[in-house]
């Protein structure tokens, strides 16, 4: 990692659910303005890592630092203030069914009272345009949108409050390859426009190469490799290369229940 305080630093992060040790001492750093992609099989601890950073799950041990501040050892108000600068795109979008699109998009701005409801529609139209959606989409309900449009709206909601650290949880899952590439392009554009730091989880290798500067691989709750995203498939690490190429044979053994 280059000099300076990293935007995000995890040290010895551990979390167990009952007897299952999901995170077993994860160490990770992301420099400000960089885009990290976290890879790993199902159950390797990727989502739990992100949820720990977001405060949705309390880790058992370890430190989570954002801009050098340890989230786990700071007062609640300060932690909330840092949380206000974090954005998250959920795998399924997690749009609020009961609200129209414009209110979904401006939800955080309204919650933080950075905007009033009269201006929120205009702001939503402006952000929707950034993800390639017409202003008229703002009046629809999330249930009326296709999967790709829901993902775009979720992306619009994520960037509307202009966060400086953004997490993406499998942003292209469930989309066709073309729409996946479109979403990846939008993510790259939005992150660059905001000058934000991005951390993404994905199983999609093409997506990982498009949106990541660097990549890291989790296996059995531990970080087993990190390096340039462009080197995925030729990393020299047997686990990473097996995963990137989608090969059945290799050091990673899938547990199949019969």
């Amino acid at each position: 990692m280059s000099g300076g305080v990293p935007k995000l630093r995890l040290r010895g992060l551990r979390k167990a659910f009952g007897a299952k040790q999901v995170l077993d001492g994860v160490d990770l750093e992301v420099a400000a303005g960089h885009s990290l992609v976290i890879l790993g099989g199902s159950g390797s601890g990727k989502s739990v890592t992100i949820k720990c950073v977001l405060g949705l799950i309390a880790p058992d041990a370890g430190t989570i630092e954002i801009d050098g501040h340890d989230l786990l050892r700071m007062p609640r108000r300060e932690r909330e203030a840092i949380g206000d600068r974090i954005g998250m795109l959920f795998q399924n979008g997690a749009l609020f069914d009961s609200l129209p699109v414009w209110e979904n998009v401006c939800f955080k701005l309204l919650a933080q009272k950075r905007i009033d409801r009269r201006r929120a529609r205009d702001k939503a139209a402006e952000v929707l345009a950034q993800v390639g959606l017409a202003a008229s989409v703002g009046d629809l309900s999330p249930a009326e949108l296709s999967g790709g449009m829901q993902k775009r709206v979720a992306l619009a909601r994520t960037i509307a409050a202009e966060p400086d650290l953004i997490f993406f949880d499998e942003p292209t899952t469930g989309l066709d390859p073309i729409m996946g590439a479109v979403i990846d392009g939008l993510i790259v554009d939005c992150v660059q426009r905001l000058g934000a730091t991005a951390v993404s989880i994905t199983h999609d290798m093409a997506s990982a190469r498009r949106i990541g500067d660097t990549a890291a691989m989790l296996h059995a709750g531990r970080l087993v490799w990190s390096g340039p995203a462009a080197s995925l498939g030729q990393s020299g690490n047997a686990m990473v290369d097996q995963f990137a190429r989608g090969e059945r044979e290799g050091p990673i053994k899938m547990e199949l229940r019969r």
Binding site: L54, G87, A94, F96
Partner: protein
């Protein structure tokens, strides 16, 4: 041999401990939800929306329940009291039964079926689709946004619904008494209001507020704790209706004891 004796005891112990844990969890959930009513930000729109959902959209089912209950009560009282030549007591029996017991309890059971299930299903779906986690990441406390407004709305709406149920229940009795049983309208109404005391109505309204809190609490708690996709949401919905119905009946006894036991 020892296992044959100990296994059932161990299962019983686990069940009791699980029950105690749930009671503690509900109590903490209720305290946290109620505490958010006292601390800003307040979500007026969410409160209004929950109030309309409870009060306005439950009105038809509560009204129909009340009016038919009043009608049946008058009819049953007449056939029973006729054996003792006590038909004149029908008006007072109907009005006291409706205001003290049947109005609040039946309205609450109907609202538990509608609203308890609806709250559990909506919040449960939000839980399993990450919408509750999304609220947290969008600088909004889920308890404050989802639970507190529903608790307050139910506590306000239920007494209003029960007031309507009381009026319609008494009206149902009056319809049967005057149009079917041959009572003089004015005399029936006079007998109704002569026997009615303020405590009868107030106790029913206090019960309604408590039942409203219980319905909203169990609906939101079961939804909030739901896990495991559609099956989990279905289980949460069933649990919300069953738990709130049982609590309504149990608390009805406790409150009746508190108000009227001498």
């Amino acid at each position: 041999m020892a296992a044959i004796l100990l296994d059932p005891l161990a299962a019983l112990g686990r069940t009791v401990l699980g029950g105690c844990r749930s009671v503690g969890d509900v109590a903490l959930f209720a305290l946290e939800g109620a505490s958010h009513l006292l601390r800003p930000p307040f979500y007026g729109r969410r409160l209004l929306r929950a109030f309309v959902e409870i009060a306005w959209f439950s009105l038809p089912v509560v009204a129909l329940t009340a009016i038919f209950t009043g009608m049946v009560l008058a009819l049953q009282s007449y056939t029973g009291f006729a054996r003792f030549n006590a038909q004149s007591a029908i008006a007072s029996v109907v009005v006291i039964s409706i205001t003290r017991e049947l109005g609040p309890v039946l309205a609450a059971l109907m609202v538990a079926g509608r609203i308890g299930a609806s709250f559990a299903a909506e919040i449960g779906t939000m839980r399993v689709t990450d919408q509750i986690d999304a609220l947290t990441t969008l600088s909004t406390h889920p308890m404050k946004y989802l639970v507190a407004p529903r608790l307050l709305a139910a506590v306000i709406a239920m007494p209003l619904l029960v007031l309507v149920a009381d009026i319609l229940g008494v009206m149902g009795g009056w319809i049967i008494a005057t149009f079917k049983l041959g009572f003089v309208s004015e005399a029936y109404l006079k007998a109704s209001f002569d026997f009615l005391e303020t405590d009868d109505v107030v106790s029913g309204l206090v019960k309604a507020a408590v039942f409203g809190f219980v319905i909203a609490l169990m609906g939101t708690w079961c939804g909030y704790r739901s896990r495991g996709g559609a099956e989990g949401v279905g289980a949460a919905t069933t649990a919300a209706v069953v738990a709130s119905s049982i609590l309504i009946l149990a608390l009805d006894y406790v409150l009746t004891e508190a108000f009227f036991a001498r």
